[in-house]
């Protein structure tokens, strides 16, 4: 595109100087045609973006400033109410809790997923019998529909009859198994745990791919200089893996901020809002309380959180790379 513009720009002054209309006519339609073709190639992508990304984002922002209720669907009337929706959702007693939970859930999930994913990826860097099979097995959580996955986890974590507590209670020093999903202090930990389990395959796969890209010679050269084990990781693996780490973390945070199904399947935000996130609160506000304006406002808070994180992270990362 930029290339076409530059070429178009240089040809414009050239045409009157030569004063050869024929030549100009021959050249211009050709270039114009080329530009048209180039533009046409962009149309599908642009349309797709507008329809499926532009429209929903704009619509959601507009909705968040409207009183958008069940009535709106029939009458089409959605009066503008300024920032009322934002004020309502932000001052609601659950909001602070949900915001804190969202931050804890995201940080906890990302830390766990990334560290375990990286450890497993490093482990699989060594070749050993059946490593290929085992690596594919680790992808399993990714293949299970989350509704099924969370139903199974609910059974595993059940305080009275769950397999986890049955095992724990068999240990000599445990009297009663913890109330994983039914106590306000443990429920968030439990759902973070399940989300880590869910996120490991993604982290491992991408990081493993990144590790494969690091040339073997670097390690050989490092070994000659005495860099093995931790030092090899610190000075060769980590710096070479940085771009992949950036991708994994940015995508991981965005995916985690919007997690909804895991929570709905496990605790539905409870008990007593102890696992309520901005995403579940948004869903609840829109689709259970029918306050679509308030739900949209919460959705935008989530977009804002993603944006803030992305900007901070990219800034930070660029500086690190520049150094």
């Amino acid at each position: 595109m930029a290339d076409a513009l530059v070429r178009g720009g240089t040809s414009a002054p050239a045409a009157p100087v030569t004063a050869r209309p024929g030549g100009g006519r021959r050249g211009r339609p050709g270039r114009r045609g080329q530009r048209l073709v180039e533009a046409l190639f962009l149309v599908p992508a642009a349309l797709y973006l507008l329809l499926f990304f532009g429209y929903p984002v704009v619509k959601n922002v507009v909705m968040s400033f409207q009183e958008y209720t069940t009535r709106t669907f029939f009458t089409g009337e959605a009066p503008f109410v300024g920032v009322d929706n934002y004020v309502n959702v932000v001052t609601s007693p659950v909001f602070d809790r949900a915001l804190l939970n969202t931050v804890l859930f995201t940080l906890g999930s990302i830390a766990g997923q990334f560290v375990l994913g990286l450890a497993i990826a490093l482990f699989f860097q060594r070749r050993f019998p059946l490593s290929g099979v085992m690596r594919s097995l680790i992808l399993l959580p990714w293949l299970i529909p989350m509704i099924a996955g969370s139903a199974v986890w609910r059974w595993i974590l059940d305080a009275d009859n769950g397999v986890l507590n049955r095992v724990l209670e068999a240990l000599p020093f445990v009297d009663a198994g913890p109330q994983w999903l039914t106590s306000t202090s443990l429920a968030l930990v439990a759902v973070i745990g399940v989300n880590i389990w869910l996120g490991i395959p993604f982290n491992m796969t991408i990081l493993y791919g990144g590790l494969q890209e690091i040339p073997e010679e670097l390690y050989e050269a490092g070994e000659l200089d005495g860099a093995t084990g931790w030092r090899a990781f610190r000075h060769i693996t980590w710096p070479m893996l940085r771009p992949v780490v950036t991708v994994v973390l940015v995508l991981g945070v965005v995916y985690t901020l919007k997690v909804l199904d895991v929570i709905l399947g496990l605790t539905n935000g409870g008990p007593a809002n102890s696992t309520q996130l901005i995403s579940t609160l948004s869903y609840d506000t829109s689709f259970r309380q029918f306050d679509f304006g308030g739900g949209a406002a919460l959705g935008n808070v989530l977009v804002l959180l993603s944006l803030v994180f992305a900007i901070v992270y990219l800034r930070f990362n660029r500086r690190a790379v520049d150094e």
Binding site: F73, S183, V254, N268, P271, A272, S274, S282, Y283, R288
Partner: protein, 404 residues
């Protein structure tokens, strides 16, 4: 960047709105004038087949053919909103009774009195739920509610009788808690299901949804707190839906449960289980138990086609005929909403008696607050959870939720 599910889900709704704006009733006008489109959420057995029989019978009687669509329960309201913005509402629409006023308020439903339909003989609570702003928008043939199921074998072995008061409920539940078995199970989940299960306790003690920060509601909540604290009920009640509660009772992990007649089929799968059903215990001996009523009602949406709407109204009237009400009641383990018909139904399904007895006293969840009900229901389950596991006293939990 992803903006949560809110707008991902709103997208199809909004696009639907774009597409249908100019259509203006095109959806129905395009169809055959003698075909009524019916939308419901009876997509499980026995509901699907029993209602298919009733619908087919009425189609013959009214002289129309029907096109029936059954969607999963949780998808119905979204489907209705989508259809109402694209002006493709069905001719006959089934709604869960607490949703009627919400949808009526949007203007999508036609008042049934315009077509000469009336409510003679219906229980008062049922009429309340179907009425919005003084107009009748729905007719509900059958209803259900919740009662106390008890394991007969366990009670016989312990030499106990089913409790009739709160005090008896506490002592009986404590006496029957043993090993892996809890005395009682109920659903206190953070959803409308949890609210629905709490209402018989709250209402029977004089509590009211308009203001839940009252001593009456606090006493009811204290009862649940005591059951948990005594160990007579599992702490897991805060995550159990009614289906989970039924599973616990069916497996023998609870000697009693609060649940509804829709579980008869599932409980029959365990041939070793002998159970009885009694009304939910009252606060004091001889007190009246006020329970919420459940079940679905039939409405006539505003499709713009007057002639068809008249036929649809005739169809709804037919669904509520004596014969069809009894057929639906017996086939789906529900109770007629007109007390005069209960004897016929109970004669065929004796287990329904405890539920049928309650019909005259049943109360509508939306009877008082109308379309504000979802907000009140959220306050109630939030307070219940805060008191059960959130470390708050019932009084504080209710006060905080009410002020919220």
């Amino acid at each position: 960047m992803r903006a949560g599910l809110a707008f991902a889900l709103a997208l199809p709704l909004a696009l639907g709105a774009c597409g249908g704006g100019s259509g203006g009733g095109g959806g129905t006008a395009a169809g055959d004038p003698d075909t009524l489109r019916v939308l419901d959420y009876y997509n499980d057995e026995p509901n699907r087949s029993v209602w298919q029989g009733v619908l087919d019978g009425c189609a013959t009687e009214v002289g129309v053919s029907i096109e029936r669509e059954s969607v999963p329960g949780e998808g119905l309201i979204q489907r209705v909103l989508q259809a109402s913005s694209s002006r493709t509402l069905p001719d006959v629409l089934m709604l869960d009774n607490p949703d009627i006023q919400q949808i009526a308020a949007s203007g999508a439903l036609a008042p049934l009195t315009d077509f000469g339909l009336g409510t003679e003989g219906y229980a008062e609570g049922v009429v309340d739920a179907s009425t919005y702003d003084g107009e009748l928008y729905a007719l509900q043939p059958v209803t259900n509610t919740i009662a106390l199921f008890y394991n007969e074998q366990v009670f016989e072995e312990a030499g106990l009788t089913p409790p009739t008061t709160w005090e008896e409920l506490k002592t009986t539940a404590a006496a029957l808690t043993e090993g892996d078995r809890y005395g009682v199970a109920f659903s206190a989940t953070n959803s409308y299901e949890g609210t629905w299960q709490f209402l018989p306790f709250m209402w029977s003690n004089g509590g009211d949804e308009a203001d839940i920060a009252t001593p009456e509601t606090a006493e009811a909540l204290q009862l649940w707190v005591d059951l948990l604290r005594d160990g007579s009920a599992s702490q897991s009640v805060v995550t159990w839906g009614q289906g989970d509660v039924n599973d616990q009772f069916k497996a023998g992990n609870a000697a009693m449960m609060v649940n509804g007649p829709w579980n008869f089929g599932s409980l029959a799968e365990n041939p070793d289980l002998r159970y009885g059903v009694v009304p939910i215990p009252a606060p004091e001996a001889g007190g009246t138990v006020v329970s919420p009523f459940g079940g679905e009602a039939w409405t006539v949406p505003q499709t713009g086609d007057e002639e068809k709407m008249a036929k649809a109204a005739e169809f709804v009237q037919c669904l509520n005929s004596d014969e069809n009400v009894v057929a639906a009641s017996v086939g789906t383990n529900t109770v007629p909403t007109r007390p005069e018909l209960t004897d016929d139904a109970v004669a065929q399904v004796p287990e329904l008696e405890s539920f049928a007895e309650q019909v005259p006293d049943l109360r509508a969840r939306t009877g008082q607050l109308g379309e504000e009900w979802p907000a009140a229901a959220t306050k109630i389950y939030t307070a219940v959870q805060n008191a059960l596991v959130g470390g708050m006293t019932p009084e504080d939990a209710l006060r905080q939720a009410q002020d919220g």
